[in-house]
């Protein structure tokens, strides 16, 4: 069978029970087309918004408590308020999705590009700016095509560009794209990349994008999923939005659950209402661990997140609770590992990612991550030295001083260290490399020791 990946939708989305805020069109195989979007209310929110005052729109987004979906979970309405009264100002949309385990923005871009474009326009209107750059990850060819086609159609139909829907409002949305670099997902590196430079982060402060961003002008950077929520919020109002999810985290999130579960997939889930146990074992979700194996560990929020274990299964999907327990919900990427998983091998793979993706701007990260990788590799290969475990922890503390966030280990009487970590580096990438190391060593020190002490037992 000659598959044609080009026209096919990306698989993985599980049409689940529960409210749909951002995935409502996903059931339609042609949901990316303008006429299908229009037939199901597309650009209706924009039409309504154009009748409102920009500050009313901003107020409604603030009232909805729309938390950023890019990783840090900062409320969008509050971030928008940080812009000084300076023009020009820009909106940059972060579609660089590349955190290990994360799979949602690509679906939103491929399957419902008009929803995202409408979200961009609503944001531009609220903030009084007329140029938006939509930055798509380089490797996502189909997402780039779908957005290009959607923009061409939306310009043609008068939803974007000069005199939107016959009003005096004019806003451009420009598609731009990267060329392969995880670090460009960090917002200041994204801005550097959009200026045509090497994608290296800028120091914050003083370079908070809201004040000094693209071309040193005020710039809002928001994640794709964050903006995709806006059409629904503006059509239905913040009160309706707050009916979903919890008080602290209203609305839904898209979660990619991958690894050793029976039904991996991307689920739209109400925030704060379900626990990890529900997600892994519930009939509506992943339906259990593969082969009914035992759970060994899981990553609750992407490769940068410290690991969780059996003890944390009953935590709700609530950022504050997960943070206090020593990790983060991050980018909605949950990776489940069963009892057959080699902790050292998994740890090495995640650390190797950070070593490869370090931009090299700061020494502790550039040198530290490669050193961590080298040590883990030799332990895995059966050439580890007895001092290697402490050396790994020591290198970690040079990148991220102080006790590193880690989950509680009740059986050993060890308590949790809450998120976030400290950093000696410019951006959080370096410190993220410490997460798998601290997590794995606290729990599975014996596995590291066994590999070091009995190298001959390690299969080649």
């Amino acid at each position: 069978m000659a598959t044609n990946a080009y026209v096919e939708h990306a698989p993985g989305y599980v049409d689940n029970v529960g409210p749909k805020v951002v995935t409502s069109r996903f059931g339609d195989p042609e949901s990316y087309k303008l006429e299908r979007s229009e037939a199901t209310g597309g650009y209706g929110a924009l039409r309504a918004v154009l009748q409102m005052k920009p500050d009313e729109v901003h107020g409604q987004v603030r009232d909805a408590v729309l938390l950023g979906r890019g990783g840090a979970g900062f409320p969008a309405g509050v971030k928008w308020g940080f812009m000084p009264p300076v023009w020009p100002r820009y909106l940059v949309v972060n579609g660089d999705e590349s955190e290990p385990g994360t799979y949602k923005d690509r679906l939103l871009m491929e399957r419902d590009p008009h929803q995202l474009i409408e979200g961009c326009l609503i944001t531009c209107y609220a903030l009084g700016l007329n140029t938006c750059f939509l930055y798509v990850r380089g490797e996502m060819a189909l997402a780039q095509e779908r957005i290009a086609e959607a923009l061409n159609d939306a310009y043609e139909a008068g939803y974007v560009g000069r005199n939107i829907m016959g009003t005096d409002v004019s806003i451009d949305v420009v598609l731009t794209w990267g060329a392969g670099a995880y670090i460009v997902g960090e917002e200041t590196a994204l801005i550097e990349s959009l200026e045509g430079n090497r994608g290296m982060p800028r120091l914050k402060p003083p370079f908070f994008p809201a004040a000094k961003g693209l071309y040193m002008k005020p710039t809002i950077v928001n994640n794709v999923e964050t903006l995709a929520n806006l059409p629904w919020i503006m059509l239905n109002g913040p009160e309706a939005y707050k009916q979903f999810g919890s008080e602290k985290s209203p609305g839904t999130r898209m979660l990619a659950i991958s690894g050793h579960v029976k039904r991996p997939g991307v689920y739209e889930v109400e925030q704060g209402k379900v626990t990890f146990r529900d997600l892994f074992y519930g009939d509506n979700y992943c339906q259990g661990i593969r082969d009914d194996n035992d759970l060994k560990m899981f990553i609750p929020g992407g490769g940068s997140a410290p690991w969780f274990f059996e003890d944390q299964l009953d935590l709700p999907l609530e950022a504050a609770d997960v943070g206090a327990a020593g990790s983060m919900l991050g980018s909605g990427a949950i990776v489940v590992m069963d009892e057959t998983t080699d902790a050292v091998r998994a740890c090495l793979r995640v650390v190797r990612f950070f070593a490869r993706e370090s931009c090299g701007k700061c020494t502790p990260c550039r040198e530290g991550t490669t050193w961590e990788e080298k040590i883990l590799q030799r332990i895995l290969d059966g050439h580890g030295r007895p001092e290697d475990i402490d050396l790994l922890l020591d290198i970690g503390s040079q990148i991220s001083p102080g006790p590193y966030p880690v989950a509680a280990f009740e059986a050993a009487g060890e308590t949790a260290v809450p998120f976030p970590p400290k950093q000696t580096t410019i951006c959080p990438l370096g410190p993220s490399s410490v997460a798998p190391i601290t997590s794995a060593i606290r729990r599975f020190r014996d596995e590291f020791e066994a590999k070091i002490q009995a190298p001959e037992e390690v299969p080649a």
């Binding site: 000659a2 920009p54 409002v169 490769g303 091998r345």
Partner: protein, 210 residues
């Protein structure tokens, strides 16, 4: 010989016009060069420098930072196998080994016939469909050894018309019709858009009486 073709120069100028500063167009223009030749040559970088008014060294500086840009000829098909965590848990590394044996090359290498370049890559955002890979940035999901062999056969036999040659990324481009565009905001402009100024809330004093 591998400066941008006249058609691509026109396209390059259109792309440059979309950004407030020409240098911002560097990544899209490097992709255009790679699309034309399959890789980014020194001549192309010099040409891009001329078009954007930056130095060739700056173009090289940007180009060399990003993994997707190849500065020498690679295979007609880049086969990028994900070995990051979700794929590793589901056999991504074993798949990579199978690919190495099948193609007779290591990651980074190109087959003698110039058909395939193999890479082991980081997460490509398809983690629930592990193990997965991309051929010239088109996805193959949940692929096993047999599926891999079939894919390679199909590519060799020219049966994968849906996958373009290396270098071609999106085959649909945004066209910004100047008649319809709002006009990209230059950072040198000051002052808010008129439509926004007209809609700003009335000062507090006026609100009282309204």
């Amino acid at each position: 010989m591998s400066r941008l073709s006249p058609d691509n120069v026109l396209l390059a100028k259109e792309i440059i016009g979309r950004y407030p500063r020409p240098k911002s167009a560097l990544i899209p223009l490097l992709h255009l060069a790679q699309e034309q030749a399959g890789y980014v040559s020194n001549d192309a970088m010099e040409h891009i420098a001329e078009l954007t008014g930056v130095t060739p060294a700056e173009v090289l500086g940007t180009c060399s930072f990003y993994e997707m840009f190849k500065r020498e000829q690679v295979g007609k098909y880049m086969v990028n196998i994900c070995t990051n965590i979700s794929c590793q848990l589901n056999g991504g590394e074993e798949l990579l080994h199978h690919a190495e044996e099948t193609l007779g090359i290591r990651p980074g290498g190109t087959t003698d016939d110039g058909m395939f370049t193999l890479e082991d890559v980081e997460c490509i955002a398809a983690c629930t469909e592990a193990p997965c890979l991309q051929v010239n940035y088109r996805y193959e999901y949940r692929i096993d050894n047999d599926g891999f062999d079939k894919l390679i056969d199909d590519l060799r036999n020219g049966n994968r018309y849906d996958i373009p040659h290396h270098g071609t990324l999106a085959r649909i481009r945004q066209h910004l019709d100047p008649e319809r565009a709002a006009g990209i905001e230059s950072p040198e402009v000051t002052g808010k858009p008129q439509w926004f100024a007209d809609r700003e809330p009335a000062p507090e004093s006026e609100k009282e009486t309204a």
